[in-house]
């Protein structure tokens, strides 16, 4: 197995699929079937990848390195660590689900809509997988930006009336962040060229001796780009507008896969390449994360549009993830990585359920729904489960990650933890209140009130299984992420004397503050 370029195959399968769907003839359901086939194939390759991954090793594995542009010191270099593997698995698992969930969405869209949707989705999958596997900063940057093209066409091509404006706003924010990142990427080249032959390989860059000032500037470029992507207050304003106008399956791809690139990048590049600057920026980042948590939750409470609401809850969640990353403890980082996976699952479920609901009621406004519990008990029940998962109910997956992040937040400074905890309380408010307004109350007869059909249940089953399974038994996720976290934190040189087994314990001691 080891000599097979697994990661390249993993990227090529959806890419070929995208081209095949776009250009092969075929009417009716055929493009969708073809797309689903390719996405399932990708999932299979992902499973093989996971099987050949050595869990005990926290470094980069399954690496492939080829020279790409020698004049720029650029390589086509791929490799995964635990973090990358989890993100890749999340992506390959979500795409078939999204394709299946969007199966009938082209009813509203004309003729070639389904073909375009499937092709762009697969293209997005291929590029996102490359982002998570890239170990050359230039390659990472290229695909980081390139993911925006399919995302742009997905937002702009499908969805509600004001989608073209939303697509423009989305793209402007993302490209703006991306160009700031370009400045830092170029800066890395300059630093690298000054110290010998220029190279963009991640491992080479880690060896670089970056001066404190240069490191901080470069860090700022990387961090801003990732803060737009993730998103973090105050660069989040595109998020709710985009999720409001895009179709729910597109939102799943954006929020659950694409936005993870932001937090992935913070862990991989901000912490990995600029440990000193990351520590230096911690107070600011923590404040921004806390604002995101509380502000996102408050704004979510005030929403009447269910798609906006879910989008804004993600702002709050990304605040938690960022907080976990920047407190520099093993539990925090582990919690964040878990959070990224669990948030992906729970939010995907919420978006898809909201999509099914909207199709039935013909409205996205919470105030015009109501009384669905009796008519559609399965839909309502699953919505409640997914909602409670995002609230962090023990026994559902997000609880584990949330508690890890909170513990390390309290560990970092007690008041940081105290503020972060309010996010949980507020999340209970927005989620339960939304549930109450949408599902309970008097009957609201307008629209279709059929319960979930078999396809829809099939779509949600893996997500629900994931929510419950990882809630009770997060060990597989921890096994994969822990070695990576230790390798990463070793590199940052921040002493971490927290306990090794994070679940169920009360967290580490105060970090060295002097």
């Amino acid at each position: 197995m080891s000599d097979l370029p697994l990661l390249t195959i993993l990227i090529l399968v959806p890419l070929v699929g995208a081209l095949a769907v776009a250009f092969l003839p075929g009417a009716g359901d055929q493009p969708k079937r073809l797309g689903l086939l390719f996405s399932v194939l990708t999932l299979a390759v992902g499973v093989v990848l996971a099987a050949s991954y050595d869990v005990g090793d926290g470094g980069l594995q399954l690496t492939e390195t080829h020279e790409w542009i020698s004049a720029f010191g650029v390589h086509y270099a791929l490799g995964v660590d635990g973090l990358g593997l989890l993100m890749i698995l999340l992506t390959v698992a979500l795409v078939p689900i999204v394709l299946l969930a969007a199966w009938n969405d082209d009813e509203q869209s004309e003729g070639s809509g389904a073909r375009r949707f499937v092709a762009w989705t697969l293209a997005l999958e291929a590029l996102s997988l490359t982002v998570f596997a890239a170990t050359d900063v230039f390659l990472f940057y290229v695909v980081f930006e390139a993911t925006l093209v399919p995302a742009y066409f997905l937002v702009g091509g499908f969805g509600r009336e004001k989608r073209s404006a939303a697509a423009l706003k989305f793209l402007m924010f993302q490209l703006g962040g991306g160009l700031v990142l370009l400045g830092s990427v170029i800066g890395l080249y300059v630093v690298s060229a000054q110290q010998g032959s220029p190279s963009y390989l991640y491992t080479d860059l880690q060896q670089l001796d970056i001066s404190t000032e240069a490191g901080r500037w470069l860090f700022a470029g990387f961090f801003i780009a990732f803060a737009v992507k993730a998103p973090l207050f105050p660069l989040h304003t595109w998020l709710a507008d985009t999720t409001e106008q895009a179709t729910p399956p597109t939102s799943v791809l954006l929020v659950c896969v694409l936005d993870k690139i932001g937090t992935f990048g913070m862990l991989r590049f901000c912490l990995g390449l600029f440990p000193e600057a990351s520590e230096w920026a911690t107070p600011l980042v923590v404040v921004l994360a806390l604002i995101s948590i509380v502000y996102g939750a408050f704004v979510a409470i005030g929403q009447d549009d269910i798609l906006r609401l879910i989008g804004l809850t993600s702002l709050s969640h990304f605040g938690f993830i960022t907080l976990g990353i920047f407190v520099f403890t093993a539990q925090g980082a582990t919690g964040s990585i878990l959070y990224m996976v669990n948030h992906g699952i729970a939010t995907a479920a919420l978006f898809l359920l909201a999509g099914f609901l909207i199709r039935r009621r013909g409205t996205t406004l919470i105030s015009q729904m109501g009384g669905l519990e009796k008519k559609t008990p399965v839909l309502a029940g699953l919505f409640l489960v997914a909602g409670l998962a995002t609230v962090g109910l023990p026994g559902l997956s997000q609880f584990v990650s949330e508690i890890l992040v909170l513990i390390s937040a309290f560990d970092y400074r007690w008041y940081v933890g105290a503020v972060a905890v309010t996010g949980i309380v507020l999340s209970a408010v927005y989620m339960l209140w939304a549930y109450q307004r949408m599902m309970t109350g008097p009957d609201n007869p307008a629209g279709d009130t059929s319960d979930l059909n078999r396809r829809e249940v099939l779509v949600l089953t893996p997500l629900m299984v994931g929510l419950v399974l990882f809630g009770f038994y997060p060990a597989p996720l921890l096994d994969v992420s822990n070695p990576t976290v230790y390798t990463l934190l070793d590199g940052t040189g921040v002493p971490d004397d927290g306990p090794d087994v994070p679940i169920g314990t009360t967290g580490g001691h105060e970090e060295s503050e002097d």
Binding site: F72, V143, L175, G176, L179
Partner: protein
């Protein structure tokens, strides 16, 4: 005073001489061949000439003498100085020749397009006939065609080849005029919207003549300072002579005015939008790509070779010009509603990015091992900019309505629905100009920003990044217009309501007539396909081109 007959290195110069020879032969064809045969003869002659010159340039490139230097006796440059020190054929010259010739072939294939206008070219039937007169109608019914455009274009190409090869100021001036004069004429020869076209030509000519005057005055002042026209001699004088600094500075400024005008840098950009819009689109494409290559070649040679030692005097000026050019180009482009004008302003912004690369000049000793040089970066940017520009203008020629080319945004609305392939390729060119990864434009941008940052010009790079963000806005807005407008329900309803109001129940819609794509001949299709392929190739596999440019080495003096 003794007069030595200069020795011409024909072995190196012959590609340029072929181009001039073909231009002269083209004039003879005009004089002696019957009208109905001229088109074929001219097109064949011109393309043959360009292809031979291109092949010749590639051959010359492989045979250049090498100059070794440094501790490790590496090849640092290649080439020879010839014609009594007035011409230099070195690696960068030949690289610029190859680029110019490739883009010229693309541009001239667009000239030869006759299917779009129903068997006629895009050039005026009889330029001498006043617009709107009987004579004009007559010329048009007779199906007259100006085949003089081919020799004119060839003269321009000849001038463009001479421009970056000039090693003394007077030759540079002659080349500048040889390349400019035919372009002024070509701009005024549009078949449709002739007044606009003639206005463009006049404006270009007036301002061009003015800027040539500045250039010439600068030549005189520099001669006064250095006592020589030769670039190497000027360099010598700059190094040794600290008197007469005022003469040097003013002369340098004057020369810069002439060159910055040609590349369309702020504050000498005002001709660009009008000329780009008024000129026949084929000419615009040709001019935009080729003039920029030639003029940047000359600019680089002048500032690096002649004034390289006085970097600290001219760099602040170029800093300001680059910043202004990028910012003005990007911001004003946001307000445009015409595709050709938008591309014109985007070309101004690109000039700014190229100037950013020019600022990246560093002493060879301060460069790291294998680090990309400023010259390499600028040449590479030009190589990526040319195909995208020619391709974009080629697409503008095929998007038409009853009145000819439709260039207003209104008419391009929803083109993605009517002609997905053409709109998709156009979108791809726009993405390349915006510098999105996996296109040539991104790699070019990366290269020029890198060299500028290496040289410490971080404020310029910062502005460059900010203006890139602004420019992304107008490119993306246009893409949005192409693909996502005109399909929104409320717009459809509004359109339907409009139709009802106007027609009083009659089903004839009175919406603005939208442009459609007219199928062009193989020439235009080929140009679009090849430029798109080049743009993609340079975005995915820029390595070979970059390596070739690195092999070309530095300027020689």
């Amino acid at each position: 005073m003794e007069f030595d007959k200069p020795v011409l290195a024909y072995a190196e110069l012959w590609p340029m001489l072929v181009v001039f020879g073909v231009a002269v032969a083209g004039v003879l064809v005009e004089a002696f061949l019957a009208r109905e045969h001229r088109f074929r003869a001219q097109v064949a002659l011109t393309l043959l000439g360009l292809v031979v010159a291109l092949g010749g340039s590639i051959y010359v490139a492989s045979e250049l003498d090498t100059l070794r230097g440094g501790d490790s006796d590496e090849v640092v440059a290649r080439g020879t100085i010839t014609a009594g020190g007035t011409l230099v054929v070195d690696g960068p010259t030949v690289a610029l020749w190859i680029m110019t010739l490739v883009f010229a072939i693309g541009g001239l294939l667009l000239f030869a397009e006759r299917r779009l206008e129903g068997g006629l070219s895009a050039f005026a039937g009889q330029a001498a006939a006043l617009p709107g007169t009987e004579a004009e109608r007559e010329a048009s019914t007779k199906g007259l065609d100006h085949t003089e455009v081919y020799p004119l274009a060839m003269f321009a190409v000849g001038g463009m080849l001479l421009f970056p090869a000039a090693n003394d100021l007077l030759t540079m001036f002659v080349a500048l005029e040889v390349l400019s004069l035919p372009l002024y004429l070509l701009c005024g020869l549009a078949r449709r919207r002739r007044l606009l076209s003639q206005e463009a030509a006049l404006k270009y000519f007036m301002l061009g003549a003015f800027s040539s005057g500045f250039f010439l005055y600068g030549v005189a002042l520099i001669y006064g300072f250095a006592g020589t026209m030769n670039l190497a001699g000027i360099n010598e004088a700059v190094r040794n002579d600290s008197s007469n600094q005022a003469l040097l500075l003013i002369g340098m400024g004057m020369l810069a005015v002439g060159l910055l005008f040609k590349v369309g840098a702020v504050p000498f950009q005002s001709w660009t939008p009008d000329v780009y819009q008024g000129a026949p689109t084929a000419v615009t494409g040709f001019m935009a790509a080729c003039t920029k290559v030639a003029a940047f070649g000359a600019l680089l040679r002048l500032f690096y070779v002649a004034f390289g030692a006085d970097r600290w005097s001219w760099q602040p000026m170029l800093w300001i010009v680059a910043i202004l050019t990028m910012v003005v180009g990007a911001i004003v482009a946001c307000t445009q509603t015409d595709v050709k004008r938008l591309l014109a302003y985007s070309s101004i912004a690109h000039t700014g990015f190229l100037l950013t690369g020019v600022l990246g000049v560093q002493a060879a000793t301060s460069l790291g091992e294998n680090e990309i040089t400023s010259l390499q970066a600028v040449l590479f940017y030009l190589a990526t900019y040319g195909p995208a520009t020619i391709g974009a203008f080629a697409i503008v020629t095929v998007v038409r309505d009853a009145g000819g080319e439709a260039t207003s945004f209104e008419k391009w609305t929803g083109l993605g629905k009517r002609a997905p392939l053409v709109a998709g390729v156009f979108g791809f060119f726009l993405l390349s100009m915006a510098g999105i990864p996996l296109t040539g434009g991104f790699m070019g941008k990366w290269a020029v920003f890198t060299v500028a940052l290496s040289a410490g010009a971080w404020p310029v790079v910062l502005v460059a990044i900010l203006s890139s963000i602004i420019s992304v806005f107008f490119y993306v807005r246009l893409i949005l217009l192409l693909f996502f407008r005109g399909e929104m329900p409320e717009e459809k309803e509004m359109a339907a309501a409009d139709a009802e109001d106007a027609g009083g129940g009659v089903a004839t819609a009175t919406r603005t007539e939208l442009a459609t794509v007219t199928t062009p001949s193989l020439a235009t299709t080929g140009v679009i396909a090849v430029t798109a392929a080049l743009t993609l190739l340079l975005g995915v596999m820029p390595g070979p081109v970059l390596d070739l440019l690195a092999d070309a080495g530095q300027f020689i003096r």
